[in-house]
């Protein structure tokens, strides 16, 4: 069964450093998302992306965050200058169609630890 792949599974960085979290969505999917879950808190929406543009972003997704689809297969989330509060599990998700939440497939996540 096709799956969304995220690398690395764990990433440790120093506060103030830039990090790039990588995702390979399912190959024929067109819509891409990032969600995150801070330990002990809810899964939160960050951003949705379609046709090389951000479709929607949450209040969390400030200027420190950016997303990119650098080629036909990868989808990345960049945090320019990490803060302690950015420590979380980051989930990438993709969907082939718009308008069907049940068709959203999540990756296994990247655990980001900011020290």
């Amino acid at each position: 069964e096709p799956e969304v792949t995220q690398t690395p599974s764990h990433q440790v960085t120093q506060m103030g450093q830039e990090v790039i979290l990588r995702c390979v969505p399912i190959s024929n999917h067109l819509y891409f998302y990032w969600y995150r879950q801070i330990l002990g808190q809810k899964v939160e929406f960050l951003v949705s992306f379609y046709n090389n543009e951000i479709s929607e972003k949450s209040e969390i997704f400030d200027d420190q965050f950016s997303v990119e689809r650098p080629d036909g297969s990868n989808f990345t989330l960049k945090i320019r200058s990490t803060k302690l509060e950015d420590s979380a599990m980051y989930f990438c998700a993709s969907s082939q169609v718009l308008g069907f939440s049940e068709k959203l497939f999540f990756g296994s996540g990247t655990q980001l630890s900011v020290l």
Partner: protein, 112 residues
């Protein structure tokens, strides 16, 4: 953000019995509701959904009930199996396909 709330952090049931997981929401504009299941070291996987125009949706052992007047939904699993042990997230959206607002999750443990 308290728009979607799962008040029970954990639930333990015996194999073969019914599991009932509950979820409350405050935003009356939510139009679509979903349940996701999450195993350790995996991402959430879709389980079942319901539109606000319905009050029940059934898929095999899983049934979701929606009470719009009470802003409450529940997930019933009958019969429960040990493989159902996971964290269950309730989620809601303003429309089918729009961003998801999640609850805190409930850890379900089904004992053999």
């Amino acid at each position: 953000d308290q728009q979607v709330k799962q008040n029970s952090p954990s639930l333990s049931v015996q194999e073969g019995r019914i599991s009932i997981l509950n979820c409350d929401y405050t935003n009356s504009m939510f139009d679509y509701f979903l349940w996701y299941k999450k195993y350790p070291a995996e991402g959430p996987t879709f389980l079942i959904s319901i539109s606000s125009i319905k009050d029940k949706n059934e898929d095999g052992r899983f049934t979701v009930f929606l009470n719009k007047s009470a802003k409450h939904l529940s997930l019933h699993i009958v019969p429960s199996q040990p493989g159902d042990s996971a964290v269950y997230f309730c989620a809601a959206s303003l429309s089918r396909g729009s961003r998801l607002t999640f609850g805190e999750g409930t850890q379900l443990t089904v004992n053999p």
